[in-house]
């Protein structure tokens, strides 16, 4: 049976920049994984960067995977597409009214991140499974896994008290999230990385961290010890 996984733009850009995209076809084929992206993510990883010389090569690598159906749009009917749009807008609205400075709500999420969360919700209703999401950026992950930590972080950074509408926290609590680093760890463990170098795992994890995956050095050290 196929397992579906939703990818945000960050991990795909990161894998492309680190020349690690070749793990995706192997995972799809050997582990029967279906990698899904939203139309917002496709715009960020293929359509838009294809027009920028500096990022064109990375975008073309991703386009190749999209054309080969290694990464796909979810198969949704018109009703589900409408539902996805409505859910995305609802999530954006809730996320952006969760935290407040003295007089203003903080707009923390955009449509792309919300769409990935919304797709997980729509697919959960359809398949009765909690479809995981791969996200490298910090804010969405913190909002889902520990919104109080996010509130505290915002308070520290803005040097002011941040009030939270804690009833909104429930909207985000059920998402299952991993990062590109955990994806690479699994690829390494399953033998999908073409290198026998004993330091390859460490090199990959740091490579992903320095291209934007929100992971601490301590976490990397712990993964290597596992």
């Amino acid at each position: 049976m196929t397992n579906q996984i939703i990818l945000d733009s960050g991990p795909l850009i990161n894998l492309s920049m680190n020349c690690l995209l070749n793990i995706l076809p192997k995972m799809k084929q050997k582990l029967n994984i279906e990698f899904l992206i939203t139309k917002e993510v496709k715009y960020e990883i293929i359509d838009h960067p294809s027009k920028i010389n500096r990022f064109k090569l990375g975008a073309l690598r991703l386009k190749y995977l999209f054309d080969k159906k290694i990464i796909n749009h979810a198969k949704l009917n018109n009703q589900e597409i409408n539902q996805l749009r409505e859910t995305r807008n609802r999530i954006t609205q809730i996320a952006n009214t969760t935290f407040k400075t003295r007089n203003k709500h903080l707009h923390i999420l955009d449509k792309g991140e919300s769409a990935a969360l919304a797709l997980s919700i729509i697919l959960k209703e359809k398949t009765k499974k909690n479809i995981p999401i791969i996200i490298d950026e910090r804010t969405t992950r913190m909002l889902c896994e520990n919104p109080e930590n996010l509130r505290e972080l915002l308070s520290k950074k803005f040097h002011t008290t941040i009030k939270a509408n804690t009833s909104n926290y429930n909207e985000f609590k059920d998402f299952k999230i991993i990062r590109s680093t955990e994806l690479a760890y699994i690829a390494y463990k399953k033998g999908f990385i073409n290198s026998k170098d004993p330091e390859i795992l460490e090199a990959i994890l740091y490579g992903l961290k320095f291209k934007g995956c929100s992971i601490s050095e301590e976490e990397i050290k712990e993964i290597i010890k596992l």
Binding site: K111, R138, T139, E152, K157, F158, K211
Partner: protein
């Protein structure tokens, strides 16, 4: 526009620092607008942070200064900052926003190598300020959109910062997250 006085104070300090060519202070002054830029997400405030940060780079580097039209560009840039201060002192927000737009036109009017140099300074300033806003807890996509840059530029730059290393960002133990991953890919 909220906290007009704060912006005015920053601009005046920038002007002071300019006389001493203190680009380090000017750089740090541009960061002081970031709190407000992150909260308000007002394009003009964000542009101002970029204008001030770029100014620090223009003073710091010597390479542009031999370029034709540099002197005129630099004096117009300084005058532009002075005009912003005057507009805020008179509480004329419309004029202040007009001056922000004038700064963009100033660069648009340049040509040749100098235009390339200055555009490069501004592009890098945008990415730098985006990374600061991302550090403040605004999501990557939202930040990229506010600053008009791509996630590709931001992810690369943000990766060099310590955003993932702060304790608060470790939201679940790594063993647990690895278990989740193993469960997904079993």
């Amino acid at each position: 526009m909220q906290e007009k006085n704060h912006i005015l104070k920053i601009l005046k300090k920038t002007q002071e620092s300019l006389q001493k060519k203190d680009y380090i202070r000017i750089k740090s002054l541009s960061d002081k607008i970031i709190h407000q830029a992150s909260t308000e997400q007002d394009p003009d405030i964000i542009s101002l942070a970029i204008i001030i940060y770029s100014l620090s780079k223009l003073i710091e580097r010597e390479s542009y200064k031999t370029e034709k039209n540099w002197n005129k560009f630099y004096s117009d840039y300084i005058k532009n900052i002075k005009d912003m201060i005057q507009a805020l002192e008179k509480n004329n927000l419309e004029k202040f926003r007009y001056e922000i737009e004038s700064n963009r036109i100033l660069i648009e009017k340049l040509s040749g190598k100098l235009k390339q140099f200055i555009e490069d300074v501004f592009r890098k300033a945008r990415v730098n300020k985006a990374s600061k806003i991302y550090e403040h807890g605004i999501s990557m996509e939202k930040t990229a959109k506010i600053l008009g840059i791509t996630i590709w530029e931001l992810t690369e730059y943000a990766g060099q910062t310590k955003t993932g290393d702060i304790n608060l960002a470790v939201t679940i133990p790594i063993e647990k997250r690895i278990k989740i991953a193993e469960e997904i890919f079993k």
